[in-house]
Symmetry: C2
Subunit: 270 residues, 2 copies
Amino acid sequence: MPFREILNRLMTPGERVLWEACLARSACEYRKGEDMVREGEHPRVLHVVLSGWVQKYKQLPYGRRQILAIYMPGQLCDLDLFTVERSDHSLAAVRAASVAEISRSDACSLLRRCPNIPQIFCWSELVAAAVQREWMISLGQRNALERVAHLLCEIYVRQRGVPDPGDGECDFFLTQWQIAEATGLTQVHVNRTVQELRRRCGVELGQLRLRVPHFAELAAIAAFSPNYLHFGEAGAGVDRVAPLFETSDMPMFAGLPSERDRASPLQLLS
Amino acid sequence: MPFREILNRLMTPGERVLWEACLARSACEYRKGEDMVREGEHPRVLHVVLSGWVQKYKQLPYGRRQILAIYMPGQLCDLDLFTVERSDHSLAAVRAASVAEISRSDACSLLRRCPNIPQIFCWSELVAAAVQREWMISLGQRNALERVAHLLCEIYVRQRGVPDPGDGECDFFLTQWQIAEATGLTQVHVNRTVQELRRRCGVELGQLRLRVPHFAELAAIAAFSPNYLHFGEAGAGVDRVAPLFETSDMPMFAGLPSERDRASPLQLLS
DNA sequence: ATCCAGCGTTAACATGGGTCAAGGACGCGC
DNA sequence: GCGCGTCCTTGACCCATGTTAACGCTGGAT
């Protein structure tokens, strides 16, 4: 269950129409590497990936940069930026990407009309935060082989879902240099590592495509466990989260005056 | 302006009484290293640090662990856990710590009665997420000296605020082994690094206390810039965020039916 | 057809930080 | 006062990863 499916599952058909219309209306095209938000700017719009991938990154004195997150179609990139005066990071297209830029007023009217939308936002942020924590584990504790293997596993599972329906392929838009920036390694060493993975479990990392003939082997190298993606819960989320907060069991919404509207799960964001 | 001051600034006196009462009522004591939430558990309460520090961490196969975040008095540790079925990380005391454990129903009634509380939650989460991104930079891009220096700068500024009123001291509850777990280094190498910092800029890392006689020098080594802590904004936050969302300018709340109550800034969390 | 930029590949060499092992200082319980 | 555990310190050694510098392939622009 890739991210898009979760989106669809969480929305009513009517909401989906509104949502898609809003996205389509504000779609923008970016070229590879082009910035959408730059560190220090005051952010004015909310970015939602339509196609391609988007990277959140920080630039460091003298050239190096760290990629902090990768956003895939359907994901919200920068919900936090609405509360913040100056962004502390940048946002750019990984390759050519299409991105919806929702203005504050559009976001406002969406929220007014679609009670399930906040829930979407909630899951999006929740998963993004969990992924970020897992990246910290890679950066701090895993060696090069494990880091790259883990990143490939994550990207594969985020697109294909788990359990995997199976032909072992998915989109892959990062260059080896970008893998290096995400994993805190050198481009040269990423190259060595990718070759090792090719040798050990037949991973193919080609033009825009990742092939993983034996996912289990790759996952074993990375000690990859998809729990942190909270996928199973997102599936259940529609049924579980929504009723819960109608019955005033969820602390943040219960007691808020908006109960009849079922707005607000967003308040639970991490 | 350390975190506690921000808390006070954001609350009305009446709210502060309720808040403090709620914290006091549910206070728990933990010994050094004792777990409050363990990975895989279903989280039932919200943890707020009263005194001492709290660490969020993940345990890895064979012994190593990564500290993901450090929470100081006043901070909320795990707002996200309310939405999640099973926690993907653990929470433990750094040293002996006192922690309030707010039940869902208590959190609920707090939110009902204190319109500014969600705002507090919002800032807490926002800053926590920004700190986490900065830690990724350390783990991915900085060398040992820069990592440790940066951590010391952050801990100093988070307690003392910036600009610093000045005598160059603050609490410091981490052992060198815990610094190692937070920075992705070895305890042995942290020791070497701390000595280097002692030599280079007179940093003293003693029993429960950190002394930084020349903060500027330490900050220079780390290339430390406190922007990511969003401190200035938190000061302004009371005046700016609140009116903004009353005038329906903030997308997430504007249009929500609860406007007369001024609930909901939490919706903007990242 | 030619050029060029971007990307992947390779090799020789350098080094930051890990590993292992031992010892010392301090504080705490008995 | 003794013993023990926790934390800090030190030294010798070594490996994973960084550095530098080529080279070649490919695809797009002219």
